[in-house]
Point group: C2
Chain length 465, copies 2
């Protein structure tokens, strides 16, 4: 019996897809890379995932796990001959513990669906990537996703207490747990952000966060983006950690307003969206400090959302950014890089200069609080060679950020897109340590091979040694 | 040339110790296990540590790294023939970045010395183990140490952003960094808590925490320890996360008052020490909620520290616990285990019953907020067989906690003391995954061998498979 027959025997014909149309549907994530899997399977239980992995091992097929496919770095894009394990049907909320403030969920659960299920309990799931209406919690964990509110709350790894994992040899592991500091090595933290290269997460115990008693959301407009950038770093420099501190440049503001009327000031060169949460007087005090820092940096307008509706509208603008871009041009390439806040202003200048030099249209929407830039190029991929130009420009932007003491990626992962840039931030010895981990968990290199680490990352892989 | 000669050549005769007296001085940590090293070295730089590790490798000597030796689980106790690497001379504060709120420090830096060095800058290092006057930040990282204020701030791993590590083959690695989510696998998180079995940390980039604007410290007395325990879990259950929530039982209160007059109510069966921090009205509101929960649970007295001096005195009582015990009896055995807060009351009862059955003197001082129990037995080790009895009783207490859904250790590490209990919380498959990590970093098993993982943890080590 061949692999397909074995899989059909396990899952039934409806959950094993091999037709060209099925393989095409699952060939892309939301980035620029693509690759058709050989077989697509849709397991519904941990036991099925384990059995699928053992079948793949028996036929020596590479395995790529996938959630909603909203990734931007190619982390869930199939390699040649891959068995693609689509986890979207494992989307249960198994348990919610209000006292312990945890939930046990399937990897296919959509991020926002968890918070929606918690309405009325004064709890929410803190990580809020812009994709949260579509992306899965398993995918958030695979990339250690961030989001506007991860500035104060930390990225996904701070909200995943434990994971159930199917290993490369089809065993089921439990990593981490509810205890404050589980004994042994922190394999939970290792699994989060590993992009499916160490195993497949089949269940997550996540931390739930109390809703804040008070929230103040402020929209601050500037005539010069450098003033906005300076305001962002001054706010953090002053010792404040707002719940969120987002920045959008003129091009982005205009694109958003054309898409949804969120009341953003289209004449502004840049806006900051700042949110502070907590008890009333603390919130008022922090909002006051932010206002005075903004005014000192020549803010032209400081608007405070007067009610929940206005607050929701401001956030709708920010979260509609990617929809807006889709409208502005058929394709976009969203970059993800981090710079030290102190180098914000000059790096931003260099990035705009690169875009001008390549003659591409650049928009910026990003997390100003933690220096996580998202330079975004909107373009038309049907123009011959255009995608290559955009990717080349984007790589230059990453190199500028790294040269300024920043790093490759803030929250979107490495995937295929940046694996060959890893040597920009890691020495051979560092990369070898990374490769030893994948070697330890996946000696046959069957789990999402070719992602995260460049070829020959392991010292003994390199002729040079 | 033998190993000693090579080491003297590298470090000079003064920093290489082989005399019986030297080996005896470094034979124990603060727990019950002991083991004399073959050679003791005191390196002062990362390059020296790397060279020491390469010499140990050349002579196939096991390597054990050690800070101040305040550990309680035997993690830094030498195995036979070990080269003991004492890091106390690597205690520099290399850099403090007030804007980025980070500090670069040596592993030998004493925890409290860092916060003292920050006085006047409105910053501190949050992890505050009771040993913080003596224990080193490297040791805190090795065990992922906790402390009263880790309830809200998280244990040491949340405060170590990056580590420089000398690997088992004498290479120098940089793991993690200041970026919110460094690319690649989180080897930083893996190294923290690994008790020197994966490499030797030679420098740490730590996160600094803003001092809170307002602090209220409350001492709450109870006639029945079960009311205190219930109050602790009710406070957390109500959605509050106090900055600290500590509990002491009657025996401990009396021992502390005999040692330092901290104004603890010696007639109480138990006290809770609760601290809330933040902006004025938030603090007042939370303190009010805590008071009413305590009163509902029949608290006999709720005292609020009226000034900084009274606050310091209350904490002095809590932090003098171990000094107090030393006075009560020549020896003590401090246990470290975690129970779900909901099982607090009954587990506590079972632990007292075990002490009664063994006829040993039990005191309890612990982190009520996160269910981290520290049952503490004071005894006289000169009585024949007494230590064995105490250890046996302590292991029974751990098993009770685990049976209640808790775990082996909250913050003191596994070391030697609990390695053979790991199978209580891990399956063979889980332990094998743990062992693959040590295999990946230390194939020759030279780094602190025999710690953390039980023998034969790796599946292929076991005859059974």
């Amino acid at each position: 019996m061949d692999a397909t027959a074995r899989l059909i025997e396990l899952l039934g014909v409806d959950r094993v897809r091999t037709e060209p149309i099925d393989r095409m549907v699952y060939a892309k994530d939301s980035g620029v890379t693509a690759g058709e899997p050989a077989i697509v399977v849709l397991p519904e239980t941990t036991a099925e995932v384990a059995a699928v992995v053992r079948i793949a091992a028996a036929f020596d097929m590479p395995i790529v796990a996938r959630g909603a496919g909203t990734g931007l770095a190619g982390g869930a894009v199939a390699c040649p001959g891959a068995l693609l394990v689509v986890l979207t049907r494992m989307n249960q909320i198994v348990m919610v513990d209000e006292v312990g403030r945890t939930a046990l969920v399937g990897p296919g659960l959509i991020n926002l669906d968890l918070s929606h299920a918690l309405v009325g309990r004064n709890l929410h799931f803190a990580p809020d990537p812009s994709s949260q209406q579509a992306s899965t919690i398993g995918g958030n964990a695979a990339t250690n996703a961030g989001g506007p509110h991860c500035l104060a709350e930390g990225s996904t790894v701070a909200h995943v207490l434990g994971v159930e994992v199917v290993s490369a040899d089809g065993e089921i592991l439990m990593l981490g747990g509810a205890a404050p500091d589980p004994p042994g090595y922190d394999l939970r933290g290792l699994m989060v952000g590993s992009e499916g290269t160490l195993g497949i997460v089949t269940q997550l115990l996540v931390r739930l966060t109390e809703n804040p008693p008070q929230t103040v959301t402020m929209l601050i407009a500037f005539d010069d983006i450098n003033d906005a950038a300076r305001t962002g770093s001054d706010i953090i420099g002053a010792g404040l950690v707002p719940a969120a501190l987002e920045m959008m440049d003129h091009e982005m503001i205009v694109a958003i307003e054309n898409f949804v009327s969120a009341g953003l000031p289209v004449e502004a060169d840049a806006v900051l969206l700042a949110e502070v949460v907590g008890h009333a007087d603390g919130v008022a005090e922090e909002a006051g400090v932010i206002r005075s820092i903004a005014v000192r940096n020549r803010a032209t307008d400081v608007r405070v959302a007067s009610d929940e509706d206005e607050r929701a509208l401001l956030w709708k603008g920010r979260k509609s950014a990617f929809g807006a871009i889709a409208q502005a041009a058929p394709d976009y390439y969203l970059n993800d890089t981090v710079v030290p806040r102190t180098r914000f202003v000059d790096v931003l200048g260099e990035i705009y200069a690169i875009a001008d030099r390549y003659g591409i249209r650049l928009m910026n929407v990003f997390h100003a609080g933690d220096g996580n830039l998202h330079p975004l190029v909107s373009y038309d991929a049907s123009q011959p060679g255009m995608t290559d130009i955009v990717v080349e420009a984007a790589h230059e932007m990453v190199c500028v950020a790294v040269a300024a003491g920043g790093t490759l990626s803030g929250e979107h992962g490495i995937g295929l897109e940046k694996r060959d840039l890893m040597d920009q931030v890691f020495t051979d010895v560092d990369l070898d340590a990374q490769a030893r981990i994948s070697q330890a968990f996946d000696p046959a290199r069957r789990m999402n091979p070719g992602k995260v680490l460049p070829d020959g990352a392991r010292c003994f892989d390199r002729p040079s040694s």
